[in-house]
Amino acid sequence: MKEITYAQAVCEALDEEMARDENIVLLGEDVGFIGGNFKTSVGLLEKYGDLRVKDTPISEAGFVGMGVGMALTGLRPVIELMFSDFLLVAADQVINQAAKIRYMSGGQATVPMTIRCPIGAGRSSAAQHSQSMQAMVAQFPGIKIAVPSTAQEVKGLLKTAIRDNDPVIFFEHKMEYNKKFSIDDDVEPIPFGKARIAREGKDITIVATSSMVMKSEKAAERLAKEGIDCEVIDLRTIVPFDRQTVIESVKKTGKLVVADEAYERCGIGAEIAADIAEDIFYYLDAPCGRVANPNVPLPFSPALEFPLIPSEEKVYEKVKTYFK
């Protein structure tokens, strides 16, 4: 075991994969000389040269589209979008091209491209740099969606994303980058579509993504002291969705809260709640609940922003409504 930051875990995953497979090429704004806006590719330019670690102009549609072309012709590009909000600038290449090419080609072509981008509010970055876009892109068939939690998970899941033959959008949480985590010395790829039981419990199931996993675990610790035994599931990937693990847990607890930082409307919580209600309605002992970003843009002022952010406290309060 060792202690590293979440950003270093990203770096290590990239480094180890690039060392393993010369077809892996990094592309993005500021990924080279300064080692990434969030320091997630430090040292890689020096190690792998400027053809494999490419600082791009600010042309998101352009370099994501290039990633598609690279992936179609045998490379495994890893594209960094500085903020997940910028997915919208490159939306055509992500949604109409990368996600659809395999299908439109009748399976002739694959697009093994990873798009990494940070999500999350909390930096007073206001409405265009604070969004969590995982729910929006999860709508589209043909893209896999990873929402890792801890540094260990980031490292293992990023390796899997890079090795996967489909386009993957890999959502990192920007508020976690500088936090330190304990991590195994060697981290193997973590399979997609297999959720992790972060904490076992019998009273209520909290399905969480990204940093909501850590927040939910902390909330669960508080709730345990009050006799409420929460099961926290780290979803790991939204697509593919580990329906079975969630079903088994909710069959046990009868109650479900989904904690995800994307907007609530048409969000991950709504999706999972609908799945569960369809599959195991008669196991539900209470309505499915959501902890999500309210349906307003993220504001600049900390006084406005922080009250909106899905937090440990919000998970705690939400769960408490089930045990009055």
């Binding site: 009868g254 008669y282 196991y283 002992d285 209470a286 409504t321």
Partner: protein, 481 residues
Amino acid sequence: MAEIIVMPKLGFNMSEGKLVNWYKKEGESVRKGENLFSVETDKTNMDIEATGDGVVRSLLIKEGDSIAVTLPIAIVGDSTEDISAVLAEALALLGKDSKVCDCEATGQTESTADALMTAVKSDGGRAKISPRARRKAGELGISSDDLCRFVTGTGFDGGICEKDVLAYAASLPADTRQKIGAAAAATPVARNMAAAENLDLDGIAGTGANGKVTKQDIQAAMAGAAAGGAARTCQQAEMNAGVKLSQDGKEILEEVPYAGVRKIIGDRLAQSKFTAPHLYFTQKVDLTNLLELRREVNAVQEQKTSVTDFIAKAAVKALQKYPEMNASLLGDTIVKYKTVNVGIAVAAPGGLIVPVVKNAEAKTVTEIAAVSSALFEKARAGKLTPDEYTGGTFTISNLGMFGIENFTAIINPPEMGILAVSSTKDEPAVIVKADGTKEIAIRPMMNIQLTTDHRVIDGLLAAQFVTEIKDLLERPVALMV
């Protein structure tokens, strides 16, 4: 015009009734005054008559169902009229979209679970039962009606959740529980002991709170386990011989379920006997004057009086003088009543029953006689309404007509006392004359024995009270004024 027949409220405290018997099937005609159905309340069965002529168009509950009072149970109307609107109204009141009777046919517990009672815990007409609770209730064969009536929701927004269903199931009697496969309620210690000894909790009667199986129950079950081998041998013998034998080899004449009214009476008496420390006081009463007075009274008026009526009047007067005896112990409060409601025990077809002469403090002996004779007649016909056999403050049990010399009675809780009246017999009695001399004479003598609850009543008071009754009965003119 079709009429909705409801479960009648047959007493102030009656919240639900069990439909024992439908006298009419759907489609049969019924005349005003004919028995339509019978209802079991907490103490008796009552036949309910039709209040008009018509045809039974729809029976909404089936025999054996319990339902809250005032809710629809049937529709009676003309043979041809369209009852769909009335039926819809009735079903809406029941909170369901189909008749419970139909559920039985399909054996569908889920549709039973859908048949919700709106009377309790409803929210805009829908009972708040979680899907999981419905599912569990369905598995256990517990109707949503029962959930609504008996279960307080502790789940989300006060709804009934699975935990509530399980708690309810565990509170049911063991035999019911076994039938539905619900886990027995047991204390954690008892549960561990049972697991260690490989004992089936369902086979053990719980004596703890809410019928929970306790450590003591387990110990008792373990002590009785030794007899098990012999019992099995006997069962084998029974099968071989075709003769019904008890576990210890006795030939059985008949097995009667300890249930219904018998069980209610028995359980109440046991509760009384083992809760209230009973204290007994006996007096011998000379009835010479009373019998003379009664003769005179009965000679001049149409309403005949019995000795019991005079004893009741004497008790009323004594209770007024000693209100401690006209009281109830309710929790941690002793409530003394000004109202005197005298219950008079009587043997009825279903068992012992105690009709109550209400407001006896305001009644003359003759009035008491009028009320009591009417009540006795109804009791013997099994037609007492719950209001007529509840609410007593003191009870008289007279077995005089059976030649009993002396007996003790068990208090009818939450009352403080009961007077056991034995038979009147001519006996030699020592008479103290006005000049102080004594002589032996033959007198009609009667034993009365007071049982009191020693938690509240001390010996001195009890002695004074029973002596007061004796004095009143021996100088009965006081009873007439």
